[in-house]
């Protein structure tokens, strides 16, 4: 056994400490090459990368399991409940944000277009910005903040109070009962709320551009109608579908596995899971927006 251990040591270092898991032994093995300062950095980066890849793999499996369970029996009732909670109950906040986004766009674009003598293009500029980008992105961020945080917290509390384990012991698949309806409801609700956002945003632009600043109403709506193509609308809906899947999956994943976090236990783990859910969702919305846009262009 001792011989085997000695064989592991590199040439010239036979009398030094054998390899061990952890940092100290590694620095002892290569003391003279100046790697002791760099190797922890690479170890950190490597460890982080491995964790990230592991997490992405886990999220992918989690999403796959939840997605296939959407089509199991007895799901309609729960999906309907979740559509009401994620979709219908988020509509007010989405409409409010859409209205003011459209109004701000109307103001900003009006004064910008005036400089180029192109005020007539106001309808085109507002509608294209909203339908292609702002509608799907802002809707997704608003729902992530409102419903996504609630998903993570609710599932996290169910986990910590052993209610998820209780479901398992009753012969109920927790992923089927808790996660699948939320993912299905998000995939249904996000495009619908995006459509609301687009519509109300265009009306907001009309209020500032036409009612407040005096652009011709006919020109405004003609430009909206003529510049928007099915490609733009389809692109916006594809984005909102992708965002719906990402937000619901991330938020449910964070809540479901909050007991395995390193940064807190119990109530704190639920809080941290909720924070992570919203932050990661928002970042991934923007990252995936770029990826999807580059595919659509």
């Amino acid at each position: 056994m001792k011989e085997q251990d000695e064989k592991k040591l590199p040439l010239g270092h036979e009398n030094e400490a054998p390899y061990e898991k952890g940092g100290p032994a590694r620095t002892a093995v290569f003391p003279s090459r100046g790697r002791s300062n760099i190797s922890p950095f690479f170890a950190f980066i490597g460890g982080w990368a491995i964790r990230m890849i592991g997490n992405f793999g886990a999220i992918a499996v989690f999403f796959f399991l939840a997605f296939i369970n959407i089509f199991r029996s007895k799901q309609i009732r729960e999906i309907t409940n979740q559509v009401y909670y994620i979709g219908a109950k988020s509509s007010l906040i989405v409409i409010l944000v859409a209205l003011f986004t459209g109004m701000v766009l109307g103001l900003q674009l009006f004064y910008t277009l005036v400089k180029f003598g192109s005020v007539g293009a106001l309808g085109s500029a507002i509608s294209l910005s909203l339908v292609r980008e702002l509608g799907p992105v802002l809707t997704a961020i608003m729902i992530a903040a409102r419903a996504g945080s609630a998903m993570a917290a609710e599932i996290g509390i169910l986990r910590n109070s052993e209610q998820i384990d209780a479901l398992y012991t009753m012969g109920i698949d927790p992923v089927r009962y808790l996660i699948s309806p939320r993912i299905a409801a998000s995939i249904i609700s996000f495009p619908l709320l995006t459509a609301f956002f687009d519509l109300v945003g265009i009306i907001g632009g009309y209020l500032t551009g036409v009612v407040l600043l005096g652009t011709n109403a006919g020109t405004y709506f003609y430009r909206v109608q003529s510049s928007l193509g099915m490609v733009d609308i389809r692109g916006g809906f594809i984005k909102s579908l992708v965002f719906g899947a990402i937000v619901s999956c991330i938020c449910c994943f964070q809540g479901y596995f909050c007991h395995m976090r390193n940064d807190g236990f119990g109530a704190r783990s639920v809080g941290m899971a909720t924070v992570s859910a919203v932050v990661i969702s928002c970042v991934l919305i923007l990252v995936s927006d770029y990826v999807v846009t580059s595919f659509l262009m």
């Binding site: 007895k74 109070s161 052993e162 209610q163 384990d165 209780a166 398992y168 012991t169 009753m170 012969g171 109920i172 009962y177």
Partner: protein, 416 residues
């Protein structure tokens, strides 16, 4: 040799490098009540969670009817798992649902029964556990004891073949504690399920247990019938059992078995030659009462019997303890057989006025439930010698038992 229903072979489980279960080997047999006891943190709940698959062993194998779980196909394992119900230590009730919804939930999700049938079955369990008034309430609106009973109702609603009870009586008052234990044994007889239970309610839990497993320092300290555990004379088992057994039986107010032993030893130590001692073993078949009037009534009668025995015999220097679920042993120091018989005769009159009247009252109140039953209170009076062990006294007492007070469904009560 009978194949165990569940078998642990060299099972080891670690959490963050700390070994909780260390090379555990144990067997759980079908149609038995197996009780797991052990200090806090010895892995009792962890062991139970391995049975239902909430945790998987780091090393070793768990066998279900002789077949290793890790070699089962998913469908086969799921089929086994559906036969098992689990009562969590902290109840794990779904807190956004009412009591009725909680109890009905497993039926709604895992069966295709009609809505009416699901409600009927759920209400039956709710009534069995005396939760009718809490049907529309949420778990947070209930006391800890009521929450425990809701969890119990939910665990039993699917008529499981194996029920894992993680401290089912924790947080209950002595009456309900005994009621729940009675109910477990009643349902086990009625539905024939196998029960695995974690409990600290010594001695009560042993009256209903067929086998006891004592977890000690991550391993199995003892496995077998309770009586054998007492005979083992292993210091750590002895110390552990004694530490759990208090000085007083919470339900009846009588001495605990350990306190009774101490009193008996002290009495023998102070004995003068030729001093006469007597004993009486009282018994009442509580299962008759349970079947006829329910667990609550049965427990109330036992409580009344204990209180009367305490009141009547303590004044003359006697001391009593419950020695099984429905037997009370009383020792009369300095009384010969004739004196003891006279005391018991007087006691039987007290019983007639107190306990049997109490039974009659309960029976009368429940007359609409077709509660026609006969029940006797028996006593075996014997003379004892200092060499007699408590077990020998009990055996002799049982052999001498005769009816001292009775309730007949058609005639009312009479004293024989």
């Amino acid at each position: 040799m009978e194949t165990p229903l569940i078998e642990f072979r060299n099972v080891t489980k670690r959490f963050n490098g700390k070994t909780v279960l260390d090379n555990i080997n144990l067997s759980i047999y079908e149609n038995q009540v197996t009780t797991i006891i052990g200090k806090s943190g010895t892995g009792k709940s962890v062991l139970l969670k391995h049975i239902i698959g909430l945790l998987k062993p780091d090393e070793g194998t768990i066998l279900f009817q002789g077949k290793p779980v890790n070699k089962m196909k998913k469908a086969e394992w799921e089929a086994h798992r559906r036969k098992v119900a689990y009562l969590f230590q902290n109840n794990a009730l779904l807190d956004s649902m009412t009591v009725l919804d909680n109890v009905a939930f497993p039926l709604r999700q895992t069966t295709n029964l009609s809505k009416a049938e699901i409600e009927k079955r759920s209400m039956k369990r709710i009534d069995d556990l005396e939760l009718a008034e809490a049907v529309g309430k949420f778990p947070s609106e209930l006391s800890g004891g009521m929450q425990k009973r809701v969890a119990l109702a939910r665990a039993l609603v699917t008529d499981p073949r194996i029920v894992l009870f993680d401290e089912p009586t924790t947080g209950q008052d002595p009456i309900r504690k005994n009621m729940i234990l009675s109910m477990i044994i009643h349902y086990r007889k009625k539905y024939g399920f196998t029960a695995v239970m974690i409990s600290h309610d010594i001695p009560d839990v042993f009256f209903i247990s067929d086998r006891v497993i004592i977890l000690w320092e991550g391993g199995v300290g003892f496995e077998g019938p309770y009586e054998e555990a007492l005979k083992q004379n292993v210091p750590m088992i002895d110390e552990f059992l004694r530490s759990l057994d208090g000085f007083q039986d919470q339900l009846t107010g009588l001495l605990s078995r350990e306190a009774f032993k101490m009193h008996y030893s002290a009495m023998l130590g102070a004995a003068v030659t030729e001093t006469k001692y007597s004993a009486a073993l009282f018994g009442v078949r509580l299962n008759i009462l349970y079947e006829a009037l329910g667990a609550q009534a049965a427990v109330a009668v036992l409580k009344a019997l204990g209180e009367y025995a305490n009141r009547y015999f303590n004044s003359i220097g006697g001391f009593s303890a419950r020695h099984s679920r429905d037997e009370i042993l009383t020792i009369f120091p300095h009384k010969n057989l004739a004196e003891a018989r006279k005391l018991v005769e007087g006691f039987s009159h007290e019983l007639e006025n107190g306990v049997v009247d109490h039974i009659r009252n309960i029976a009368w109140k429940n007359s609409d439930a077709a509660t026609c039953f006969d029940i006797d209170i028996r006593a075996g009076v014997i003379e004892i010698s200092p060499e007699d062990s408590i077990e020998e006294i009990i055996q002799k007492g049982r052999a001498e038992q005769e009816i001292i007070s009775t309730h007949r469904c058609d005639l009312g009560g009479k004293v024989q």
